[in-house]
């Protein structure tokens, strides 16, 4: 084989390597359409409805980005830890603790002005998440206990703990509830004060005369998520801390010989990862529901793993992957409604799982092909 041909081939495969997520998405949509066929529906119609409704208009886009926002945070969290060779599967728990702390600050410091309270509440959600992730980080760094099982256990503990706190700080029953003599179905806290809330994107756009549906839940948290993505990029590739974290992730032994403090970097990476996950509180809590409720967050931590993988653990890839998942999630929910429940929205979770499997498989195949070509 002549050299030129090999080089051309290598170029081809290095491009393919970059686009494995697209291959995976197409593959997953095909598998999804088989499932839809088995239910007896027309996959093309369903997908048309799904994407048409989700991204066909401004309201759809707003909802998609609103759903993408928490996934950007948890996706960044997973990607950041992964760069240090750590699997942070505890996003879920970090979200719970971060958001609860934000709620606590938001309904406690009621006399603070917005200019202090908003940053304080944002900081609270990051600190809560960081604290919850630091525990497995320390156990990993000092004791060598695998972070996967610990972070999972911390998820369940967080769920129970915040449930307890929600009962402790339960909002007083409203007048209507008192009249009807009913209790809260799912315990929730009081609302955070006005000064702790993030403005909706619609209200900002209306000031500069851009049409955007006022009821749309998209809020400033999305902008915070984008800033976070840039920050993660900056930390990982433009600072010495990022350099060390990536070095530890790449080769722990070599890093140690190079004089890098492994356990310090592991703890810091988990801390930052947890802070990113905790920031989910800015979206659902500060920007949308304004009160802590047990069922406010579902599967965000785990979907963050899928988002990080699909985004190749790169912050900008994470943003794109989160938007795709936002489309799937919003589109899937709408399809469920418009087909009268014929297509359960959990189909989306199945498609997401298939995407994950196909991404890792196609990555491995491409890597192997390139290696073999290099060997030749």
């Amino acid at each position: 084989m002549n050299k030129e041909k090999i080089q051309k081939g290598n170029l081809f495969f290095s491009i393919v390597e970059k686009v494995t997520p697209i291959i995976a998405i197409i593959g997953a949509l095909i598998i999804g359409s088989i499932v839809i066929l088995l239910i007896g529906e027309d996959p093309i119609q369903v997908y048309k409805m799904m994407f048409g409704l989700a991204i066909g208009n401004r309201d759809g886009w707003g909802n998609v980005l609103f759903r993408a926002t928490p996934l950007i945070f948890t996706g960044l969290a997973v990607a950041f830890a992964f760069r240090c060779g750590l699997f942070n599967i505890g996003g879920e728990g970090q979200v719970y603790v971060g958001a609860f702390l934000a709620a606590y600050v938001g309904f406690t410091f009621i006399n603070f002005p917005a200019i202090i309270l908003i940053p304080l509440t944002i900081a609270a959600s990051a600190i809560g998440g960081a604290f919850w992730a630091t525990i497995p980080g320390v156990l990993k760094a000092k004791k060598g206990i695998h972070e996967v099982i610990i972070t999972i256990m911390m998820n369940w503990i967080a769920a129970s703990f915040t449930f307890y706190l929600a009962l402790l700080y339960k909002a007083p029953p409203t007048e209507a509830m008192r009249m009807a003599g009913v209790q809260q179905m799912i315990p929730h806290t009081s609302e955070i004060v006005e000064a702790a809330r993030l403005p909706r994107i619609a209200s900002i756009l209306s000031k500069i005369n851009i049409q955007f549906p006022a009821h749309n839940p998209l809020n400033v948290s999305f902008i915070i998520a984008i800033i976070a993505a840039f920050l993660v990029y900056y930390i990982l590739w433009k600072t010495s801390l990022g350099y060390e974290i990536r070095a530890v992730g790449y080769n722990q032994t070599a890093s140690e010989y190079a004089g890098i403090n492994i356990s310090k970097n592991i703890i810091l990476a988990m801390m930052i990862s947890g802070a990113l996950a905790g920031l989910v509180g800015t979206n659902e809590l500060m920007g949308y529901k304004f009160r802590w409720r047990q069922d406010l967050f579902t599967n965000l931590g785990f979907n963050g793993i899928a988002v990080a993988l699909l985004g190749k653990n790169h912050p900008f890839g994470v943003v794109l992957a989160a938007i795709l998942f936002g489309i799937l999630s919003y589109g899937g929910a709408l399809v469920n409604i418009f087909t009268g429940g014929k297509i359960p929205r959990e189909l989306i979770m199945v498609i997401q799982a298939v995407i994950v499997i196909l991404v890792v498989i196609s990555d491995e195949i491409i890597k192997r092909v390139i290696l073999r070509r290099k060997a030749e």
Partner: protein
């Protein structure tokens, strides 16, 4: 007060709580002994818990339901094996994907087939063993022994059988020797003519089947229904039990019993002291963390655990 906690019923419930952890933990032992980490146990348990109820209700036969659950477990194990052994993809990622898949498919099918997310099991297994005698009929000791050991679901006795078989299989047979060598030093095993790939496939399929049985016990025998996310992290607790049990069947059983005791104790203490139920719910997970912290230093994973086997070229 001690009497109201440490009575025969307590020990019987310890055993019942330990069964799914034991089965899934044994699955973990087989898989990791061969060098494949399987955190998909959680999702396999969940899917099989659903499959057991769905299978039982459709076939109107509990045993068929349990068989279907085991087969589903093996199939999910097969997916994990294809992704991690054949394609050598990251084992944690594959496990996460299986768990994600499980959360989705169980609710998806619940809606599709039963139009709700909590499905009652129409049948359950009979109790095997002796009838519990009335107090005074026999000596208290005999009565206690019957309550603790001889008045259970058939699955309990089957689990005991599986524990013994697993121990013999792993430590007393040529198959077990090959299995362990593949997980310790696959290159050497390969040189000796052991097929690393097929050994790992077999091990992961066994782990899937065992996690499947664990899931069927959760839904059919413990809860008598399926509800979404009912596995509740037990697949991971089982892995903690496996680590605390030093990757051996007997050790894993011991650790699973410890978890069972912790959970049963917490439930009983709740009746005596006023502890918020949320703290009781935390006990298994806190216990798992403490156990893992305590296991460090003495626990030794198989040397090639988690590392895909790459045949050297040339």
């Amino acid at each position: 007060m001690i009497d109201s906690i440490l009575n025969p019923d307590f020990f019987a419930s310890v055993i019942r709580i330990a069964i799914p952890l034991t089965l899934a933990g044994l699955g973990g032992v087989f898989s990791e002994k061969s060098g494949v980490v399987n955190i998909g146990l959680e999702g396999i348990m969940l899917t099989s818990a659903f499959a057991a109820v769905a299978g039982t209700n459709f076939t109107e036969n509990v045993w068929l339901g349990i068989l279907i659950a085991a087969i589903i477990g093996i199939l999910l194990g097969l997916i994990h094996a294809i992704v991690t052994v054949t394609f050598k993809a990251n084992q944690i990622v594959s496990g996460v994907a299986i768990n994600l898949f499980a959360s989705g498919i169980t609710v998806f099918l619940s809606w599709l087939w039963f139009h709700e997310t909590q499905i009652m099991a129409l049948k359950s297994l009979p109790i095997w063993g002796f009838k519990i005698p009335n107090p005074g009929e026999v000596s208290p000791l005999v009565r206690s022994l019957i309550v603790i050991f001889a008045h259970h679901s058939p699955m309990v006795y089957i689990t005991l059988f599986i524990i013994i078989i697993s121990h013999i299989l792993i430590f007393k047979t040529p198959f077990g020797l090959r299995l362990r060598s593949v997980g310790e030093y696959p290159q050497a095993a390969d040189t000796l003519g052991i097929n690393v790939i097929s050994m790992r496939y077999i091990a992961v399929l066994i782990s899937g089947g065992l996690a499947g049985l664990a899931g069927s016990f959760l839904s059919i025998e413990q809860a008598h229904f399926f509800v979404k996310e009912m596995s509740g992290g037990r697949g991971f607790i089982a892995l903690a039990a496996m680590i605390f049990g030093k990757w051996t069947p007997i050790g894993t059983v011991g650790a699973a019993l410890l978890f069972g005791a912790g959970e049963a104790l917490a439930i009983r203490l709740q009746g005596i002291f006023t502890i918020p139920v949320q703290f009781i719910n935390m006990v298994p997970y806190l216990l798992a963390i403490f156990v893992l912290v305590g296991a460090i230093g003495r626990a030794t994973a198989p040397a090639a655990d988690g590392i895909p086997y790459e045949k050297e070229i040339g």
